[in-house]
Amino acid sequence: MASKVTEGALTLLKTLPRVALNNIKDLPTTLYKKKTDRAAGRKKKGRGDKGQGARGTWDPIGYEGGQAPLILTTPVEKHYGKYAVRRQYPPISLLEVQRLIDLQRVDIKRPIDITSICNTNLYHLDVSKNHFGFNLTEEGCDVFNAKVNLEVQWVTELVIAAVERNGGTITTRYYDPQCVAALNNPKAFFEKGLPIPKCKLPPQDALEFYSNPNNRGYLADPEKVLEAREKLAQKYGYKLPDLSSDPVKSLLLMRKDPLQIFYGLEPGWIVNMADKCILKPKDEDYLRYYANVY
């Protein structure tokens, strides 16, 4: 390199006096220019003669001298419906997932779910903004090359095909907001000392989606899911890899129970981060509550 910026600057520093408190200065900032208020020194301060202008007793904005103003006469028309209540699924594309796998941000030897993606600290779900999970989008369906066990909240047919073509599995799974908050940041959740929540079933309008084998819903009949896999392979023209003879079969077939949100941990357990142990209450009613869908 002809002239090295950093090296040159450091060579210069060696010749200069010691950097001390009395010879350092900030860069000149030209963001805020002090405006000279020329009117402030004049007699009438630029306000003119008498009246509302000089005395600052203006009418309120929109006031029409007592006549009902336009803002009140025009009726309110709400066009947004229940947008604030609708579920949202922030997108993450197949290309992004592939990039995470390439750069080893995500461990493919474990199932990839909300926790794996959020633990990279690159993506987060905000329950206050009605985020219910991730929507796996189609961008990168041609380049997706990994054999993974994916668990997301919304998919299309093309994405399922892209994943299953490489020998992976994909499931769509519903989580209620409390569970989404726990999955987004498990460490913060465990530090609260609350019992691991049991996941609720989907609401009315989502139940159909998650029971449909074409969407690989977690509530769908597993036999129909296998049929759907074969049909999709025929539709998109790829050979469906055989799962039974796969070395990572146990990984690909790992599924959570519908009430379970963390792999290996059951609802009702309390994680003690300080002592590095798990507390499991023995009360009958408690156990029954966390074992059943009511």
Partner: protein
Amino acid sequence: MAAYTVALFRACSQCKRILKPVSAAIDKSHVSKLWSVLEGSKRLLTTAPPQSTDKIEDKSEYPVDFEISYDEFKHVLPLLPIETVPGVPNHPSYPTPSGWFPPNLELRSKQKYLVRRTKNHMLPVYPGTTHKRIEHIKTVQHYVHIKKIEGDIWALEADLRLHLQQKTGLPKIKTQVHEVGRFIRVRGMYADEVASFLFGRGM
């Protein structure tokens, strides 16, 4: 509503967590044909009450009886976030399926300048916009921000400008060089062209 409750019940039956009377114990023998298809799936809470192999500390203080497990804490460890960005593993070929490739150190060492990768191993090339009023008309100005420049920053600016002039055919490409902040800003929506230029130089 009726259709919903029926659908819900069907869903419940599929996951085998049916509403049970208070006094009944959890039915262990009801093995579902559905779950046997997915071999190796873990079933919850179908075991008898836990064995008393727990290490009991002073439990007289607590109102509820509980069991402590140290072995199962290993399931918590993969759930903890990764605090430091991991290094990139060696791939058999580049670019990787997502289109990433590492810097070409040989090619890069021959250049007069250098653009370092970010901590996430990506190029520090960022498109951006500023909003201005030009003669009271609101306009959006696009720019490309290139950070982390080492070496001869003016040579990089000259090469980049020439490259973009050839690519776009425009007579003038406006650039800003900030020597202290060690960045360059190029006016226009040329993020892809800038990235390909830098990749071509091995950055």
